[in-house]
């Protein structure tokens, strides 16, 4: 079996094994659930090191015949969909991010209280979906993996979440269902008009002057498709005003799932905008770039202001995610190398930071049954180590130099100031706001009025150390040695820049 397929489907082996474990065996189920995420992690990391020592990623590509809607004699390659997987530097980075966060979220799942069997089966299904999304080389395959993340997440939120879980699950389902429905229209229009859904082929078709088509595609149609794509991924990212579902999910879902959701699932929106938006629609993207940057600044400020007035730490983090996704949009809207690089950095960096913060939320909730910082207060005394990690995570999130958040924000704004200085100046206000609300929240929890009830609560257990240390280490690594990320991204960025002519 080919390596990439094995990497993507390896969690499913875990699903099969779990099927035969009785559902009362808590320890065994949790252990196996964790183990099943390991192969993907090991393979993706080893690929990364091989890549750094000169492995050509093209050799990993896979291509198999899959669906032929029409007979090959008459239609040839038209109306066929192949099973195509492949990675470039950017995709590899996202796959590693997924594998890392998934493994750590599996560790964080020790806090799950019931139905471990169903939980881990869905969890692993979700991981396969996420890995597949980043390796799919055609739109239909992408869509299938995309939806494969939707269904398990619906159940994971609806069954293992907090009080309002079912409502949150529905909200998630309807918004994302709508988003994927719009995406599906775009995909099928491509398929019907060009006879293919291969991303590379579509890129050539869209930029060539008179491509071979089944039916014509006017400029209006192309613009319409791009806007539809923008809305579809805008819901996922989320872009204001399409964000309300995401706040609900962040508050109601179990922390280990929010780690995945905020860390990876939201990033699919950014990945889609970069890979399909910039890749397939370079011209349309250019014409809408200013609007994207404006939307980005709105996201940044709106998220920051709302985060500032929240009383619940989970709400702060939810709005902070919206705010930080604004930076991705800002970077993309700038349309220059620094901006796009900043956006990609932000995708990875925020994935790690939010995973860390939500993990800590889970740790606190486990001990105190609350995430209101009025009730928490004085945690530096009660749980000094956890509080320390929280402080570090907060610093990374607000963009302290030496951590990954700084690099990405700096580059995104560097790009924006080059193109639209006024917008950049307005957006910079958001950076200040970020510092304000994060310090307010983090300091409120770690110092603040001490709540003696928690005094003597158990600090991080050895198992809980693993995710905290691993995530923080990666955050600092990217902060002090950004090259580890920018090197694999180099060639992808160059192709993108070449295409949009920036």
């Amino acid at each position: 079996m080919s390596l990439l397929s094995f990497l993507i489907f390896s969690p499913l082996i875990g699903v099969l094994v779990l099927l035969f474990i009785p559902k009362t065996q808590e320890k065994l189920l949790k252990g196996l659930g964790f183990l099943a995420t390991i192969p993907a992690l090991v393979i993706s990391l080893s690929l990364f090191f091989q890549y750094r020592s000169g492995l050509k990623l093209e050799t990993l590509s896979e291509k198999l015949d899959w669906i032929a809607f029409k007979n090959a004699i008459q239609y040839g390659e038209f109306f066929t969909i192949k099973y195509e997987l492949g990675v470039d530097g950017f995709q590899l980075v996202l796959i590693i991010l997924t594998a890392v966060v998934a493994t750590l979220a599996a560790i964080a799942s020790i806090h799950i209280k019931e139905e471990w069997k169903g939980y881990f089966m869905l969890f692993l299904l979700l991981e396969t979906g996420m890995l597949g999304v980043f390796a799919a080389e055609n739109l239909v395959l992408f869509f299938i993996f995309f939806e494969m993340t939707l269904i398990p997440t619906f159940f994971l939120i609806g069954k293992w979440g907090y009080e309002e879980k079912v409502k949150a699950a529905y909200s998630f389902l309807i918004y994302n269902g709508l988003g994927s429905a719009i995406l599906l229209i775009v995909i099928i229009v491509f398929f019907a008009r060009t006879g293919t859904t291969n991303i590379e082929a579509l890129q050539t078709i869209m930029t060539s002057d008179n491509p071979q088509l089944i039916a014509s595609m006017s400029d209006d149609l192309k613009l319409g498709l791009f806007i539809a794509l923008l809305i579809a991924f805008g819901i996922k990212l989320p872009i204001f005003p399409l964000h309300s579902w995401m706040v609900r999910v962040h508050v109601q879902a179990p922390p280990s799932i929010v780690m995945l959701h905020s860390g990876i699932l939201l990033k699919i929106g950014a990945y889609g905008l970069i890979r399909f938006g910039m890749g397939i629609f370079p011209e349309q993207f250019k014409s809408m770039a200013v609007m994207l940057a404006v939307l980005g600044v709105i996201n940044l400020l709106y998220g920051a202001f709302l985060a500032f007035v929240q009383k619940d730490f989970k709400m702060v983090l939810a709005y902070s995610s919206i705010s930080h996704m604004g930076i991705v949009l800002i970077g993309l809207g700038a349309l220059n190398e620094a901006g796009v690089q900043g956006a990609v950095f932000q995708v990875v960096s925020h994935g790690l930071i939010s995973a860390l913060l939500f993990f800590l939320v889970g740790v606190f909730y486990e001990r105190t049954q609350t995430t209101q910082f009025e009730k928490l207060g004085g945690m530096a005394k009660a749980m000094p180590i956890t509080a320390g990690f929280l402080l570090a995570g907060g610093m990374a999130s607000l963009g302290l130099p030496g951590m990954s958040g700084f690099v990405s924000e700096f580059m995104a704004f560097l790009g924006l100031f080059k193109e639209m200085p006024v917008l950049g100046a307005v957006g910079a206000l958001g950076i200040i706001m970020t510092a304000v609300y994060l310090l307010r929240a983090v300091l409120g929890i770690t110092y603040g009025t001490a709540n003696w009830k928690w005094y003597g609560a158990k600090d991080l257990s050895p198992v809980e150390f693993v995710p905290a240390v691993a995530l923080l280490a990666l955050i600092v690594l990217i902060g002090v040695y950004p090259n580890i990320l920018s090197e694999p991204l180099q060639s992808t960025l160059e192709t993108i820049m070449l295409r949009i002519g920036g």
Partner: protein, 508 residues
């Protein structure tokens, strides 16, 4: 007709029909002479074996060139073979459901009739797909309809079953009458009932008055036949009949009868109305001009089906509206009139056959022992019967069109077909996708009941759900097919392309 001509016909191409007819006769006689006390289930198994034999004989006919007998009234082309396959497989699964059907009351005495009426209805449906003449077409239609009327009311002592049969008879005969009226116009203009001859006559029609008459005929026929497939606005009967009829009958109506209805619509309107030029020679045909009308019916059907389903709490009514919605999706394929029409219609019907049949099998199992079919019976099913819960989950996901299932590939195929033309109907596709998202709400409400809700108080004392062999087979086959055709759809497409040549011989 003397014996010589009679013997010169190639009767072999009617083999599947003869087998069904033979088994039907045998069961009728056996039922008549069997002692009253004897269990009638054995008759069901005989019927099932008969259907299997018919499938085998149909498989033997697959390689056959297009052929027709009885002065072109019965023809066997790729289209007929493909649809007969769907009908036979569907009827086989329904038979298994019927064998295991054990309601509280009102079934014991009539079980024998139950089985042979299914076969009679199936025979009617098979003749419909194969007919090359309005007479055989209508005979098939009536055979199917009348058997279905009786089936819907077979639980004589059950009030709802009676109500449903009554509604079905009244509505159904009305629709048959309207269809027949429409046909009479075409007959009047051409003087023949043979579809191929009709085509030749209609090709040369130039008088615009005649064209108007044919438009009226088209509308009449289409209205009448939309009754059969339960398309809006002629869908009213479906929820009441589906709710009242015994569950195997509901499954039969929503799958086999609907597939036959689509076969009939396509056969009729494509054979007759593509031949008439709307505005003089060389112009587009009536059918192309009528396309917006079909599109409107499709759109309204999808909207009504999906939106009204949101308000239902009876599981069979939910599935009735869902089946209305699916008729709408299928009509999108007809309205598109593209090179994808036949294959997308066929594939979607295959997918729909399995996912809907499987769902009805589980509904039957969960609700047959209770008085009502309220959705709340499914509460906590995941705890009570995990296998059924997961199977229902997969089938419902397939109905909702989630990737990885056959339902998704079917929708993908239909929408591709609708968009492949130069002047694509984006509005219709938009409605189809939007209503699909609406359908998530009620499909996932079922799943939420199964997986999220706690089982109601006292349900621990409920007897464990035992899965009879027949239903077990149906569920496994349906789930496996829904997943298999979702992940490896080429199994079906290859078959379609190699066996049916994409229906190239439809008008030969």
């Amino acid at each position: 007709m003397d014996l010589e001509t009679l013997l010169s016909f190639e009767w072999g191409i009617m083999m599947p029909e003869f087998i069904i007819l033979g088994v039907l006769t045998i069961i009728t006689l056996l039922d008549l002479f069997m002692p009253k006390t004897q269990n009638r289930k054995i008759l069901g198994w005989i019927g099932f074996v008969g259907i299997l034999a018919a499938i085998v004989s149909l498989a033997g006919l697959l390689d056959k060139e297009v052929a027709s007998i009885l002065y072109d009234t019965f023809r066997l082309d790729a289209f007929a073979k493909a649809f007969k396959l769907i009908l036979l497989v569907g009827a086989g699964l329904v038979m298994l459901l019927a064998i295991s059907y054990e309601p509280k009351e009102g079934m014991k005495e009539y079980r024998g009739e139950f089985f042979y009426l299914f076969l009679a209805a199936l025979l009617g449906a098979m003749i419909m797909t194969s007919s090359g003449d309005l007479i055989t077409l209508y005979v098939g239609l009536e055979l199917l309809s009348i058997s279905s009327y009786v089936l819907a009311g077979i639980r004589k002592s059950n009030l709802q079953s009676n109500e449903s049969a009554m509604k079905y008879v009244v509505n159904g005969s009305l629709s048959s009458a309207i269809t027949l009226f429409g046909m009479s116009y075409v007959f009047g203009l051409t003087g023949t009932t043979n579809l191929a001859d009709m085509r030749d006559m209609l090709m040369v029609i130039q008088d615009s008055q005649h064209v108007y008459l044919l438009v009226v005929a088209f509308l009449m026929i289409f209205v009448g036949l939309s009754f059969k497939i339960a398309a809006a606005p002629y869908h009213m009967w479906a929820p009441d009949v589906y709710q009242g009829a015994p569950t195997p009958v509901t499954a039969f109506l929503s799958v086999v009868s609907k597939a036959a209805g689509f076969a009939l619509i396509v056969r009729m309107i494509l054979s007759i109305f593509t031949a008439v030029a709307a505005n003089g020679p060389g112009s587009t045909s009536i059918l192309v001009n009528m396309e917006p009308y079909i599109a409107v019916v499709a759109a309204v059907t999808m909207i009504i089906g999906n939106v009204v389903a949101l308000r239902q709490s009876n599981i069979k009514r939910i599935f009735a509206y869902s089946s209305i919605a699916h008729a709408g999706y299928l009509l999108v394929a007809v309205a598109a009139l593209s090179l994808f029409m036949f294959d997308s219609l066929w594939f979607y019907l295959v997918a729909y056959l399995f996912m809907n049949m499987g769902a009805f099998a589980i509904i039957q199992l969960v609700t047959e022992k209770s008085d009502s079919e309220d959705l709340s019976h499914f509460a906590g099913l995941y705890k009570r019967a995990p296998f059924l819960a997961v199977a229902m989950g997969i089938l419902v996901l397939s109905l909702a069109g989630i990737p990885g299932t056959a339902g998704f590939i079917g929708k993908l195929n239909i929408i591709t077909g609708a968009l492949v033309r130069e002047q694509a109907n984006y509005l219709l596709v938009g409605i189809m996708i939007a209503t699909t998202v609406v359908s998530y709400v009620y499909y996932f409400r079922i799943l939420a009941q199964i997986f999220f809700k706690q089982a109601p108080e006292g349900s621990e004392s409920l007897p464990k759900i035992k899965i009879p062999v027949g239903i077990g087979i149906v569920i496994i086959v349906c789930v496996a097919a829904s997943v298999l055709f979702g992940i490896f759809p080429n199994l079906a497409f290859d078959f379609l392309q190699t066996q049916f040549y994409e229906f190239g011989d439809f008008l030969q």
